[in-house]
Subunit: 333 residues, 2 copies
């Protein structure tokens, strides 16, 4: 049985290209005790993966050169030597960018394909959904009547942040790239407004959409957008630092927010989040979000790219802003 | 009766010079109802004054061109048409950079010259002390055993922050400019360590002094120092943004903290403070600090410059790092 894999060959400078990957085929190893063989069906493509390719410890160890690229996955158990997992079970885990994985079972979670399409467990029912839920509710602390702005609004996290903020009674404005994404946010997801940062004057548009200023800003992008939003925050605003996709492929130093003294003027707070800290409460969050989905208050959207060998180009779609909703790679044809 | 005054003549570009001031002499006006005539004895010189000289609203309105420069003051009531204040009372207020002031009484607070020297009411018993107390305790949230770093450590706010953090059981490291200031922090104020940012390698020194990383950073300076400290924070660190004296005289844009994504990696928080928000609780804080002073746990230090007409040069001492402790201008000879 052959297993195609993408190994990290070199650390990228700027955007990762196909040259940074070794595309190899290896035998699937035999199982030892308490392992499972998984057929990977969907691979999660996330902005955070860019950080894992860099040298140096961040909130998680970097992927080693020559190792299978780390990625969240859903797939089916084909063989098991662990009594907790049976052949046929579907599982979520970090099985990496490969077609098959032989792994120990810590870190695997069973998922139910009857409740939702498999790929949804990588999106609203997976890490991006959890990131949105805990980052917004525990750190953004939105209150009914407040104004929330989210950047990367049409992405996996942003779409969920905006919808939960609407559920909580906020006025919600999304920042996204392109008229189609903006139309989707307002027409399909019920955002109160959307700003196309590629074509609109961001500062002017924020003033129009947020005449009273911004109470909560959920930042997925960093860079100039963060800096501009800082000029429009209200007293006691909360800024959630979830990511900075505009800076991940920088070859120059990260652009720090020049307007950070707006935090002082407005007695505001900027705070970083990492979803893994909430692992003990994922179940509770998933249950509440499943309820919102069944009530039609929370819509899921996945952007599925098909074909395992398209991984390098599919990953780049994130950094080129080509996805709407959660970007996933479907391994099979 | 003649009154010498410094009026704001023009808005400075870079450091304020004598050219930015009109040094004038005017008659002291007659009192109307519910006013007092105050002889100004001490004028507070504060980094924040630089911000008040700029155009555009910040947390407070800018000083208008042609107006007496705003400043905190202590002085004595010479005449009163308000029954709440009697001739001879000593008062704290914002009477501005002038020898005499005729003002209404809202915003005036009686002080007791028997309890402490007058100038102390502009320092540890005044706004800088309140800034340190509330900024550290309510926003920095120091816990015993944690490591606190404060910049501008030998200044009016920094000296108090470090001493209160010691009282709360923290390991305290100060960042200041010059060996004399560093020696003062350790030998006289009991800091656990001090770093001379002008001569030491800040990053290396922080690693040595804070081997477990930094739990609380109280920032008075911004710029490169903030950016370097960000690389050394611990999980769940709190960064209190109190000021950014390194940036106030910039003619280029403010330097944003390039390493702000350390907030994400470390799930840390950066929050701005303005002392005026705590006005309702000044009394409680003053009482607690007076207790610490009487117990010898909190030492006060003022840096007194004498002579009203030296105001422009005395103010510059702040930006040149020439003061140790609270800088005040004594009006009389």
């Amino acid at each position: 049985m052959k297993n195609k894999q993408f190994l990290l060959k070199s650390r990228p400078v700027g955007k990762p290209t196909r040259d940074n990957w070794d595309y190899v085929e290896n035998d699937v190893p035999e199982l030892t005790d308490n392992q499972v063989l998984i057929r990977v069906d969907y691979i999660s493509l996330d902005p955070a993966m860019r950080g894992w390719m860099n040298e140096g410890k961040s909130y998680i160890e970097p992927v080693q050169l020559g190792a299978v690229m780390r990625a969240g996955t859903v797939g089916q158990v084909l063989k098991s030597t662990d009594s907790k997992f049976a052949e046929g079970d579907y599982v979520y885990g970090h099985c990496g960018v490969q077609q098959y994985a032989v792994v120990g079972t810590p870190g695997l979670h069973k998922i139910d394909p009857a409740l939702a399409p498999l790929e949804r467990y990588l999106g609203v029912l997976g890490m991006p959904g959890m990131t949105a839920y805990f980052g917004l509710l525990d750190t953004g602390l939105p209150k009914a009547g407040e104004t929330l702005v989210v950047s990367g609004a049409a992405g996996a996290v942003g779409t969920v942040v905006g919808q939960i903020a609407k559920i909580k009674g906020c006025r919600v404005i999304g920042i996204a790239g392109g008229a189609d994404k903006c139309k989707y946010l307002v027409d399909d997801l019920g955002f109160d407004g959307a700003i196309d940062y590629k074509n609109d004057d961001l500062k002017k548009a924020l003033k129009e959409h947020c005449p009273k200023g911004i109470d909560v800003y959920f930042d997925n992008v960093g860079g100039e957008i963060l800096d501009t939003v800082l000029t429009q925050i209200r007293m006691k605003a909360r800024i959630v630092i979830c990511g900075a996709i505009s800076q991940y492929n920088n070859t120059a130093p990260v652009k720090g927010p020049s307007n950070y003294l707006s935090l002082l003027v407005n007695r505001a707070r900027m705070e970083g989040i990492v979803v893994f800290d909430n692992a003990a409460n994922y179940g509770k969050a998933a249950a509440e979000m499943a309820g919102w989905i069944s009530q039609g208050k929370l819509k899921a959207k996945e952007h599925v790219v098909t074909g395992f060998d398209n991984f390098p180009e599919a990953l780049l779609m994130l950094f080129n802003g080509e996805n709407t909703g959660k970007l996933v790679l479907k391994v099979g044809a």
